[in-house]
């Protein structure tokens, strides 16, 4: 009998031992030394699995795009001040914004040594039409014409003044010589699939450990990467891993302000703050009585103390939201919209005037025809909902908080099976987020929305986008609650170039991992950011050169800027 137990446990133990050995065998192999040796500059961050780093295989989320963007380049890109030339040195558009001409950077090479030309650009758009990329379908493209190897003309079906911000700044260009024969890009894997022009190249990807290892692409046209290896991997706890040095940078947002504060007085770390371009809002059903009544919606808005919500529920890790939805750090933000400052007297007055009076003395207001005003408050975040429940109770509105997963909440919102609900989304740096409403019909609004899409003049368009925000802030189909803040915490000894991109990376991804952080930029020596490299800043650069932090060529670049 004991034999059976013994044998069984030995069998299980052996099984697991073999499984361990097998994994070990897989992973050891050719390389004989620990790769971290040899004085390589390695930077590690935390992160999950976001899919294989090609434009067709990454998961359709910000971090998935970011990892892909280390390898693949776009015609234009963004830095902390806005749009910059990238694969295209310059561009122009026809008066109607239907034809766009791009003058490509010369001498760009793919990481396998093949030259990058206008044919690759044409191929990318043609191929994407047939095989949609994760975030782009090339639907608005009529055709692409190659004028010469370094000039390409993109013809659109309709005028698109926002072509640069919407398309060229986010669509990765793929090499024709590799992708031309690929019929199912979704399933294309291997070294060839990750041939790009960007500063890094993918060395290893282990999905189950969320492990990405990137090496420097020595052929990158923007120069050699500042670091030799960039690693992203899953860790149990970001703050702990950062403290123990297992990772060199991570990001926190919203309520995680508590974790961020742990690093504030630690001289080994630096912190930068950014906008998340995210908003949590209270949705009103504008097709059901009584939430279809604008005045009633106003009363509820006055009855919610957003400032206190940010302090108590978000622990200060957010800012009170723009009632017009667009994030205050966005160029499209409309200043001076009504904020509905917390005022229960006003809320009560409005509700009284609407005839919603507590006739049966149960602390809950009644409809003019009788019956308590009582709603189910659908939400996927408990704390905010409980706060609002308490706030509304004060003005005599009864709510029952119902917490559910996003999957369950989404259809309820879409089908209009609610009176009030709490939900949120990102990307509020772009005007296109202004059309996502449930159960709200406003022809004038729709008209302006379409008009701004076609408007060439940026100032006119800004005005129109401002009008949209004004309508939302006044009509209140949704009442915005807060915009969470974001922080990147990093060890500057490993890499100190982290920054938040103006308007977010590419389509508006709010994280501080713009591939520019891997590249040398002489302007970083402009310490006082006055747009001029002065003598002391040149001395800094020369000092860095003597300390071996930058190369001679890089130091010369800084000196050149001084003489400019």
């Amino acid at each position: 009998m004991n034999k059976i137990i013994a044998m069984l446990s030995i069998a299980i133990l052996l099984c697991s031992a073999f499984s361990g050995m097998a994994i070990a065998k897989e992973d050891s192999g050719m390389a004989d030394v620990t790769a971290a040796s040899a004085g390589e500059k390695v930077v590690k961050i935390s992160g999950d699995d976001w899919g294989y780093s090609t434009p067709f295989a990454h998961y359709p989320r910000g971090p998935g795009y970011i990892r892909m963007s280390f390898i693949f380049d776009t015609l234009t890109w963004k830095d902390k001040n806005g749009v910059i030339p990238w694969l295209a040195d310059s561009w122009s558009s026809s008066y109607d914004a239907k034809t766009w001409t791009f003058y490509l950077h010369r001498g760009v090479k793919w990481s396998d040594g093949e030259p990058f030309t206008a044919d690759d650009v044409k191929f990318t758009f043609d191929y994407t039409k047939e095989h949609p990329q994760k975030w782009y379908k090339a639907k608005e493209i009529d055709h692409v014409a190659v004028l010469d190897p370094y000039t390409v003309e993109i013809h659109l079906k309709e005028s698109r003044p926002t072509f640069i911000e919407d398309v060229t700044g986010s669509v990765p260009i793929i090499p024709e010589h590799i992708w031309a024969d690929i019929t199912d890009p979704n399933k294309f894997r291997g070294d060839e699939a990750v041939t790009g022009t960007g500063p890094l190249k993918l060395v290893e990807y282990v999905p189950e450990q969320g492990y990405y290892e990137y090496g420097a692409n020595t052929k990158c046209f923007k120069g050699k990467s500042l670091i030799d290896r960039f690693i992203s991997m899953e860790v149990s706890d970001d703050a702990l891993a950062l403290e123990t040095g297992d990772i060199d940078a991570t990001s926190f947002w919203g309520k995680e302000i508590v974790a961020k504060e742990e690093f504030e007085n630690n001289p080994n770390f630096e912190i930068i703050t950014g906008p998340s371009f995210w908003v949590r809002k209270l949705y009103f059903n504008c097709e059901k009585y009584p939430t279809n009544n604008k005045t009633f919606r106003h009363a509820l808005a006055y009855g919610i103390d957003r400032k206190k919500l940010v302090e108590q529920v978000m622990l200060g890790g957010a800012r009170v939201a723009n009632t017009g939805i667009i994030h205050p750090d966005s160029p499209w933000y409309k200043h001076g919209l009504p904020g509905y400052k917390y005022n229960t007297t006003k809320a009560n007055e409005i509700l009284d005037s609407l005839g919603f009076i507590d006739t049966d003395d149960n602390e809950v207001r009644n409809y003019p025809g009788g019956g308590d005003i009582e709603f189910t408050l659908f939400t996927n975040t408990k704390d905010e909902a409980n706060f609002i429940h308490d706030n509304l109770e004060v003005i005599g509105i009864k709510t029952e908080v119902k917490v559910m997963s996003w999957k369950e909440l989404d259809p309820i919102l879409k089908n209009g099976e609610f009176y009030i609900a709490i939900s949120g989304h990102g990307g509020i740096v772009q005007p296109r987020t202004l059309y996502t409403f449930y159960s709200y019909q406003n022809d004038e609004y729709d008209e302006i929305y379409k008009k701004q899409l076609r408007t060439m003049d940026e100032d006119v368009r800004k005005e129109l986008v401002g009008e949209l925000q004004t309508i939302i802030a006044d009509d209140l189909p949704v009442y915005t609650l807060y915009h969470p803040l974001m922080w990147a915490v990093y060890n500057p000894d490993k890499l100190d170039t982290w920054f938040y991109t103006k308007g977010g990376v590419a389509v508006g991804i709010p994280i501080a991992q713009n591939k520019l952080i891997f590249l040398f930029d002489a302007w970083r020596y402009d310490a006082d950011e006055d747009g001029i490299i002065d003598k002391s800043e040149v001395i800094d650069a020369i000092q860095d050169y003597f300390d071996g932090r930058i190369t001679k060529g890089q130091a010369i670049e800084v000196v050149k800027l001084y003489f400019l």
Binding site: I5, I12, S28, A31, P207, G426
Partner: protein
């Protein structure tokens, strides 16, 4: 004849479970593409228009009638093809193998240890019931076992990982390390394994220990033990040959029942230690309504449970020959 009905029974069970695996995920609210339209995480809302949706449905064969999808699924299964995961965008079999090896390592090690420890300690406890050793063991094991595993995991991380710096605090391997021999790599894997495995052992040992102790207590009171003692057999011999053999019956059942849970139930430990495994994968598959992945993962669990039952049946016959004749 008996064997044939038994096998037929297993086949029937597998078929029923396969159908459940296929239809249940499709009954859940939401669909496998809703994650595209922007989960309220830090992300862009993507607008998925009808045309794009139709293309996606066609690409994954989800536009066909349900019955045809079912027959396609069964046919693919016969060919050993588990399909293509929608969210992870990779073959389901690759994803499962990638995770399963770690789960097997973790759960296998932990199970072997807590099984043996639980049985041995349970026996020791019951043999001298009410003694100092019994009370001590009972109190100790019950109190550590009742700690939630994520709490215990965090405790281990802080104590052994951060304060004493004895063990790594996350992952299954040291990232970015290439060893010259497989031994170095194996040692590294076992160093990473120790804390999560210890957490699992502590979390599960209570059940085995208690069951073994109770079952042993029942057996100790039986007449044949008295007879054995009257025969003058050595205490150790009675314990092993007479008592333990009979007391092990319920344990076998328990372990067979637990197999499914062992594969999927390590989610807390996986989360706390960021250990790759099937638990988190299952959670993700459910969250993203990834039908092919859900089907694949449930299939593995189903097969594991059925296999465990099969083994339990065999062991039962050896432990209790009466079962065979019934």
């Amino acid at each position: 004849m008996h064997q044939i009905t038994k096998i037929a029974g297993y086949v029937a069970i597998i078929l029923v479970v396969l159908s459940f695996n296929f239809f249940l995920p499709r009954v859940m609210p939401g669909d496998p593409f809703s994650f595209l339209t922007g989960d309220p995480s830090m992300d862009m809302p993507i607008v998925l228009d009808e045309e794009m949706r139709a293309e996606l449905l066609a690409y994954y064969g989800l536009d066909k009638p349900l019955l045809q999808q079912f027959s396609d699924y069964m046919l693919n299964l016969l060919h050993g093809n588990l399909g293509w995961s929608i969210y992870f965008n990779a073959p389901v079999s690759n994803i499962l193998i990638g995770r399963l090896k770690w789960t097997l390592l973790l759960v296998g090690t932990a199970t072997a240890i807590y099984m043996v420890l639980g049985i041995v300690l349970g026996t020791i406890s019951a043999w001298k019931r009410g003694g100092k050793r019994d009370v001590g063991l009972l109190t100790f094991i019950l109190s550590i076992s009742s700690l939630p595993s994520f709490f215990l995991g965090m405790l281990f991380i802080i104590l052994f990982g951060i304060k004493l710096e004895l063990f790594p605090i996350f992952g299954a391997q040291t990232p970015f390390m290439r060893y010259s021999t497989p031994f170095g790599a194996t040692a590294d894997i076992f160093r990473h394994l120790l804390l999560p495995a210890a957490t699992l052992v502590i979390a599960h040992i209570g059940g085995v220990y208690l069951l073994m102790r109770n079952s042993m207590l029942n057996v100790v009171g039986e007449d044949y033990i008295l007879t054995a003692r009257a025969k003058g057999l050595a205490e150790w011999y009675i314990l092993r040959k007479h008592a333990m053999k009979n007391a092990l019956l319920p344990i076998t059942t328990m372990i067979a029942l637990r197999v499914g849970f062992m594969i999927s139930g390590t989610i807390f430990v996986e989360t706390v230690f960021a250990y790759p495994g099937v638990g988190i994968l299952l959670y993700d598959a459910v969250t993203y309504r990834d039908y092919p992945l859900l089907q694949g993962a449930f299939l593995i669990i189903t097969l594991a449970i059925i296999a465990a039952n099969f083994v339990a049946d065999i062991i039962y016959v050896r432990l209790d020959p009466r079962v065979k004749h019934e």
